[in-house]
Amino acid sequence: MSELRFEGVSVRYGGHRHGLTAVDTVDLTVPEGRVVGLVGESGSGKSTLARAAVGLIPLTGGRILLGGQSVRRRRSRPPLQMVFQDPSSSLDPRMTIGDSIAEAVPRGRPGRRAEVIRLLELVGLSGDRARLYPAQLSGGQCQRVALARALAGDPRVIIADEITSALDVSIQGAVLNLVRDVQRELGLSVLFISHDLAVVRYVSDFIAVMYLGRIVEYGPADQVLARPRHPYTRELLAAVSEPVDPGDLDPALRAVADTEPADPHHPPPGCRYHPRCPMGPAVLDDRDICREHEPVPQGHPHLAACHFAAER
C-alpha cells in the first residue's frame, strides 16, 4: 500500500505571537498509484505541506501516513521523495550528477554504478553523462537528473513542487511527459504541486485547491475542472481560460475582484475567502454566515468548503 494521507496536518512557523499557521488542519489523500495536483496561489502553504511530508519541517499537529503507517517512524530507506522547483539549486554544483544520484542509492546495494546508469536512462539521459557537472546541463536536463535522484531510493511516493515553473517553455513539455511516463511505468503515487492550472490539469487524476493554508476543494480532476464547486476554484479557472477584458462589472463585483490577497498572518475570520468572494458577503447581503462561520469541507468524492457550494 502506498497511499499518502494527511490527517489534520498543521504547520506553524515562528513563535506564539508573530508566527503564522501556513498549513491549517489539512486532510488530503493521495491514492495509491494516482497523481493528485495541488494548486493555489503562492504563500497558500503548498510547499510547506510538501516539506512537512518529507520531514524537512516538523508538524505542529496531525499526522502523515504512508500505507497506514506514520512516515515519522520510517526506517533508513525513505519511501517518500521530493523533486524541487529550481533546477539550478537542486543539484550540488560541485558534484558530478552521477555522484549526486549515487548518494541517494541506498547504501550497501551492490552495483551502484550500474544503478546510476539505469536511472539516468530511465529519465531519458544517456549513461555516459554521469561524469558531467550540473553547470554543463540545461535546466530541463537538470530536472531529469533530480527526478532520477528521487527515484534512486525506490520511493513509493514522489512529491513534485513546481518542477516546471523555472523551465523555459520549450522544455516544460518534455519534463511533463517524463513525469507522466515514469509515474505510469512505476505505479507511483504523486503529489504534484503547481500554481499553473493547465499543467496540473494535464498530469493529475485528482485536483486539490488550497487557499490560505486550507484545502477548499478536492475531487476527481475532470469534475473539479468541469463543475468547480468553490468560488475560488471558479476564479482560478476563469483567470486562465477567459480572454482578458476590462471587466465591466457592477461596482461590488469590481471591488471584490480588485481586493488584495489576504495577509497569512491575519487570516480573515469565518470563510477565509470571504473578502474576495464574488458570491460572498461583500456582494450578496444575505451571507453574513460567511463572515462568522468557517465552512467545513463536504461532499464525496468531490468536496468543497463553502456554505453555498450547491449554488452557482
Binding site: 531519458g124 520549450s170 483567470a239
Partner: protein
Amino acid sequence: MPSPGKSKWAGVLRTPVGVSAATLLAAVLLLAVVAPLLWSDEAAAVDTGQILRGPSAEHWMGTDGLGRDVFHRVLVATGLSVGLALLATAIGVLTGLLLGAAPILLGARAGRVVSAMVNIAVAFPGLLLALFFAVVFGVGASGAVLAIGFALAPAFARLTQTLVAKVSGLDYVAAARIAGLGRVRLLARHVLPNVAEPLVVNATVAAGSALLAFAGLSFLGLGVQAPAYDWGRLLADGLAGLYIHPAAALAPGTAVVVAGLAFNLFGEAIAKGVGLRSAPVVFRRRDRDEPVAPAPAGEDRRSVLAVENLRVTFPGGTAPVRGVSFALRRGESVGIVGESGSGKTLTALAVAQLIEEPGEVTADRLEFRGQPLHELPDRTRQQLLGTSFAMVFQDPMTSFNPTQRIGRQLAEVSEQHHGLGRRQALDRAIDRLQAVRVPAAARRAKQFPHEFSGGMRQRAMIGMGMMGSPALIVADEPTTALDVTVQRQVLRLLQSVRAADDVAILLISHDITVVRRFCERVLVMYAGRIVEDLPAADLPARARHPYTRALLAAVPDMSTELERPLAVIPGRPVDPARVPVGCAFAARCPFADEQCRGADPPLVADREGRRVACWHADVTGGRPMMAEEVRVGE
C-alpha cells in the same frame, strides 16, 4: 572534466594586482620556511665588538645590543612571525567553523543558543578579546596564539553561519537530507565545499591581521619570549635604541607591514576575482529630471510607434536583436512572445531608449507619435517620452526607490514634466492611484514600496505611467511573478486603461497563453527576429511558423488533449553570440532542408497582413503540428 570554479582562481592570477600580491605572498612564505634553516647561525652570532652599530657594509641594518646582525634576525624571525600568525588563523577559522556550523551539527535549538553567543562575541573589539585571552592563557607564545585565534573566531563563526544558512536553504541540501544523509556527511559533502571560497578569502585577509596582532602582543611583552624572537620582539628591542640607530626598529617594522600587506592584498585580489564576474550590459533607468519643453507638433494622429529594421548590437559582434519591424496604432494591444534570450526585453528597452553603452541601437525608422526618436535633441526626446510613454517591468520593486513614499515618487513625475507644484502633484498622484484601483489611495500614497504587495506595486507602477497622458505602455513580463488571480487583476487594469484612454499596449511575455488572452495581435520572436506576426484570434489553428506551432503544442493549456504526449522542441535556444547562417530555427525544426540551412527566410506579409518568416510556411501550413513530428528528447 574540470570542476566549475577552478578557472576563476586562475583568472585572479591574470590581473596585475593579483600577480603582484601572489608573488609577494609567495616570497614571504618561502622566506618563512628557508630563512630559519639558512641563517639561524648568522642571526645568533654574538659580536661584542659591534654593539648597537648603525648600518654598514657588513651589517646592512646594523646590530643589536649584543652585536647580533639585525638584518639576519629579521629574516629568520619571518619563520616564527608568519608561522604563529598562520597557526592562530587556523585556530580561529576552525573554531569559527565549528561554532558557525552548530545549527547543522546540533540541530536548530542548540544552534540558536550558539548563534546568540556568537552574536554577542562579535560585538567585542577583536584586540580587546585578544588581550583578554592573553591574560587568561598566560604570557608566552602559545598563550598569544590561542588568544589571537579565539579573538578571530567570532567573526568566522558569524561568516560561516551566514554562508551555511544560505547554502542549507538550497534544494540540494534538502534533497540530501531526504535521502537520509547524516549531519556530518551533509556538512562535509554539500555545505562546506560550497562555502569554502569566501572562507578562504577571509582567512587570507585574517592571517594578515593576525600577523599584525601578534607583532603587537610580542611588542607588549605578552607574546614570544626571549630567547625566541619574532618581529614584535625585534621591534621592541629596536625601539629601545631608536634614537641611536633607527634601522633596528625600522627593519622589523617594515617586515610586519610588508608581510601583512601581502596577505591582505592577496585576499582582496581573490575576493575581486571570485566575486566580480562579468556584468557587461548595464541598463539605465530613464532620467526623469529633464525640464519641460513644448509638446511636439505635427504628428500622425493614429500611429504611436513605427519600428523598422531595429538592431541592438554589443561589442564583439553579438546582435541579440537583428532587424525587427513592427508598428502600433492608438489603442492597439500587441504582444511579443518568445523564449528567454530571444530579444523581447532588448526590443522594448531599445524602443524606450534605455539601452546603455556599450550597447548600440540602430534602426531605419524608429518613430514615436510621428517623431523620429533618433534624431530628436535629447531634451525634446526625453520630454516626449516622459509625458506620453510608460514602461512597466517584471519586478516593480526595482523600479521604485525603496526609501521614498509611493505618492512622492509618483508626484515627482508631474513636478518634473508637467510643472505642477508639490501639493498639486501629490493630489494627482493620489488621483492616479485611485484610477489604478489602489484601495484607500490617500493612505497608501504615504506608504513605502515594500509595504505594497506585488500586485499593488504593479498597479502603482502603471499609475506612475499614467501621471502624464500616455500613448503607449510597454509592459515587460508584468505579471510573471504574480499569481493567476492577481495577474488577471493587473491585466484587466491595463485593458481598462487601454479602453478608456486609447492607449496602445505592448505586452511582452514568455507565456503564449497570456498574450493570446490579452492581445489583438501577436509577434513571435526567435533568436532576435520576428518570425511570425498574426492576429491573436488565429491562434492556435492558423499559426504558420513551425516555431509558433511547436510552442503552442509544447505548453499545455486548458484545452490540451490529455491522452497525447506534449510536443517537445529539441535542442536549445540560439546563443546570440553564435547565430547560425540560414534560418536560426533550422537546428530544431522538423521541416528544415538545404534551403533553410543556406539562407535566412525573409519576413513576408500575406494579403491579410499576417507576416511569417519561413521557407516552408505554406507547405506545412494550416495543419496543427503533431507531437510525432518533432523528435523526442532534448
